[in-house]
Every structure is written in C-alpha cells, then in structure tokens.
Amino acid sequence: MLDNTATTSTKSKMSARDVKVFYGEKQAIKGVSIDIDMDNVVAFIGPSGCGKSTFLRTLNRMNDTIPIARVEGDITLDGENIYSSSMDVVQLRARVGMVFQKPNPFPKSIYDNVAYGPRIHGLAPNKAELDQIVENSLVRAGLWNEVKDRLQDSGTALSGGQQQRLCIARAIAVDPEVILMDEPCSALDPIATAKIEELIHELRGRYAIVIVTHNMQQAARVSQKTAFFHLGTMVEYGDTSDIFTNPREERTRDYITGRYG
C-alpha cells in the first residue's frame, strides 16, 4: 500500500487531507494529502492530465467556478477549513493568490492593475498609501525599475515576461499568505523565465509558494519540495534534491528520467 500522505513536522500554512475532486462522474483527484509551509517552495510535477493543476486550484477554490466540479476532503489555511460555509471566498482568494500560465493583466494601466486588489479590499485609506502599496508590490515583483516612469501605460503593452511579473505584483498587492503559480513561465522566453525564477527565490519565506510546472529543470531550480502526481494520485512527495537524484517510486523515476510511456 502506497503511503499517499505527505506531512511535515514544521508548522504548515496549508494542509490538505484526503482531498478528492470529481468532475461530474469522473474522479480527477483520488485522495491527496499534503502540507505546505512558508519555508519551502513546493513544485507539483507530472504528465498532462495527472491532476496537478486541478489539485492546485482546490487550494483557493478556483474549482468553484466549474459547475460540475465537486471537492471532498479537508483543506485548511492556518487550521481553518477553506470549504466551510463561513469562509468568504473572495477573502480566501486574496489570502491565497494565483498566477496563471498566460499573463493576464487587466486592460488597464500598470498602476491600476496593481492597485485594483487593494482598492476592492479596502487596504489603502488614501492615495499616498495606495501609491506605497503599488510601489512596494512592483519592487517585490522585480518590475519597479522597468516601469516606474510609465505607471500610466497600459499593462497589456508590456512584454510577456513583464506582464507575468505585473500579475505577480498584482497578487502580492493584497498581501497574500500563499501564492499559487500554474505554469507561470510556459509562455515566456528563457531570460524572462530566469527572472521569474529569481523572483520566486526572493519571495520564498515571505509567502508560501506552490508552483505547477511541466519543466522538470525548473522544478529542480526553484523548489525545495517536489510532489509527483500521476493519474490523480500523489505518487511521491519529498525533498527536491532527493526526488531528482534518488526517487523512491518507480513511476517517479520513469517520469523524471524521460521513460514515461
């Protein structure tokens, strides 16, 4: 019997216990348990259709937007069940932010892209504080020096890599605790990718970070923990250095060495 749980003794930010996801009759996730802490970037890897993105989306209830999707099991954020009826989903998504595969800035100015979240969540009582939040977020996202003189330009006019960092700045602006990234570099060139990866290093420790990636070298570069998903189960979860040098499971080995059928 395969041990599908992945728990750590250090204090976890988010915990999933026996999480199952159904799309109608089809079961996409078959009982996944994992702990995510602030100190380690977690990478989810696995072949297409393995459930890694589906599972990622359960962590901030993005699956709620899919009518036929149903989630079972427990997912907690600081010990609080995020699927309980008392959980405010809008608030949850501010605390657990998400960055997507394709950069998706709003068709607004760079400034307004970042200011949007703080405005709707009422985080800034005045213009000066909002300016400060926007600047801090852009600095942390490594974009400030490139855009500080043109904050009123449209966000969609930036390059792909800049747009993705703008999206990260937008996620950071509402002061989240967890950042989920779903293949954030797959549409970027190697230089823009390197900048995002460097940014992930910078952000580590301040936020709990989970990244889904198809690029195993990227998982190896940016994460301290790696989870391998296959056919809706989490086959193996461990230190990234172990997973890529000496995986315990044959399915993990076959996948990371390029022997997956």
């Binding site: 890529f244 040098t245 000496n246 995986p247 390029g258 022997r259 997956y260």
Partner: protein, 236 residues
C-alpha cells in the same frame, strides 16, 4: 524498486548510454587484460609481452579521455536525472579509477623488464594466485556495472579481503626471504612492489564496485552497512 530500466521516450538518449556502456566495457576489459598480460609476462619472463602491456596503456588513457568527454556531453545535452544521472557520474569516476588500474598493470610490466630472476624466488610463489584473484575482482566489478548488479558489487567488496590477505602473506614471505638471501633484495623488492600493485588494483576494483552500487541503489554501500547495523539486535 525495479532496478532494470525501460527505454527512454527519446531513443537517442538510449543510444548515448549504450555507446557509453560499450566504452566502459572496453576500458574495463583492456585493464583486466593488462593485469593478466603483465602477470603472464612476469611468470614466463616474456619481455615482448611486458612491452605490449606498457604500450597498450596508451589506449586505456585515450579511452578514459573519450569517456570523460562523452559523459560531460551527455550531461550537457540530455539533462539526465535520477538513475541516469547516477550512472553517468559513476561512469565518469569509474573511467578515472580504471585508468589507475591500467597504470598499475603498466608498472608491473615495467618491473618485469628489470628483473629476470624473479621466478627463482620461492617466496613469491603465491603471486600468480593473487593475480588471478585480483583479475577476477576487476572482471566482476565490470560485470556488475554492465548488469546493474548491486549484489555482485557487494560481493566484489567482500572478496577484496582475499587479495589483501595474499598481499600480507607475500609481504612477510619476501621479507623473510630477503633477510636470508641478501643477493635477492633487488628482485625481491620489485616483487614486493608488484604484490603491492595488485593489492591496489584490488582496492580500485572495490571502488568501481562501490560506484556501481551507488548508481544502481542511489545510496553508498557504507550507508547500507550503517543501515544494517542499526537494524541488528544489540549483541553481547
């Protein structure tokens, strides 16, 4: 976990690994043959054969370079992971070790050219048996690599003690012989170095076996032994 490996989706990667394994088999085979040739040359006082062994070492050195280049190229181009990465690192280290085995065999062959009264020293009568045991160790170490056989690798390390025991016997016998026959000190010293070379070759075969074990199992043989110790019940 199953230790045998399926084909890569990218077949060219398998081609690289097959070529590399072929080169390791060739360098291992040549090193083994060099040890055998040097010791035969000693036993039969065959200077031509000894010179062939000395000359043949160049090919071993060239193979080492070829293997190193191929490993670096494969790591750069294929970004290997897990078992593949460990095998490539093992291949890189093994090629260095085998080159040393070749050097020891060459050193034996050079000494054959310097002594011709060696076969008259009865104290060295264990040398051929020691050479057989050493050659077998080298052979088994490379068989273990070719078959990804961790058990055989463990056996090689255990067998190394036989070679060490031979060395200690020959060492003591030669010392005693040289004390009684000072006129044989020159030849006796050469024979002692030859025994020492064989002993070192045995150690290097052990190194190869340890790398095979690491490549196959993902942990060092020492870790395994520590693990076993921890599981063993406390003895009195």
């Amino acid at each position: 976990m199953n230790h045998s490996l399926n084909e890569h989706t990218l077949k060219a990667f398998d081609g690289d690994l097959t070529t590399l394994r072929g080169l390791i088999a060739e360098i291992g085979g040549r090193a083994e043959k060099a040890v055998e040739g040097a010791m035969t040359a000693l036993g039969t006082n065959d200077h031509d054969l000894a010179r062939q062994v000395v000359e043949g070492d160049k090919r071993i050195d060239a193979l080492e370079e070829q293997i190193d280049r191929m490993v670096i190229q494969t790591i750069a181009l294929r970004a290997p992971m897990a078992d593949d990465l460990r095998e490539l690192v093992a291949a890189l280290k093994i090629s260095g070790v085998v080159e040393r085995i070749g050097d020891y065999a060459k050193n034996i062959a050079k000494r054959v050219l310097l002594i011709d009264s060696g076969q008259e020293i009865d104290a060295a009568r264990l040398l051929p048996a020691m050479a057989d045991a050493t050659r077998q160790l080298v052979d088994d170490a490379f068989t273990a690599f070719a078959r990804r056989d961790a058990d055989l690798a463990v056996a090689v390390c255990a067998q190394d003690k036989t070679v060490d025991d031979f060395y200690n016997s020959i060492f003591r016998a030669l010392i005693a012989h040289m004390i009684d026959n000072p006129e044989h000190v020159g030849a006796g010293t050469h024979l002692m170095f030859i025994a020492k070379n064989l002993e070192r070759i045995g150690d290097h075969a052990t190194n190869v076996a340890e790398m095979v074990y690491f490549a196959v199992m993902g942990q060092s043989m020492n870790e395994r032994e520590r693990g076993d110790d921890a599981l063993a019940p406390d003895g009195e």
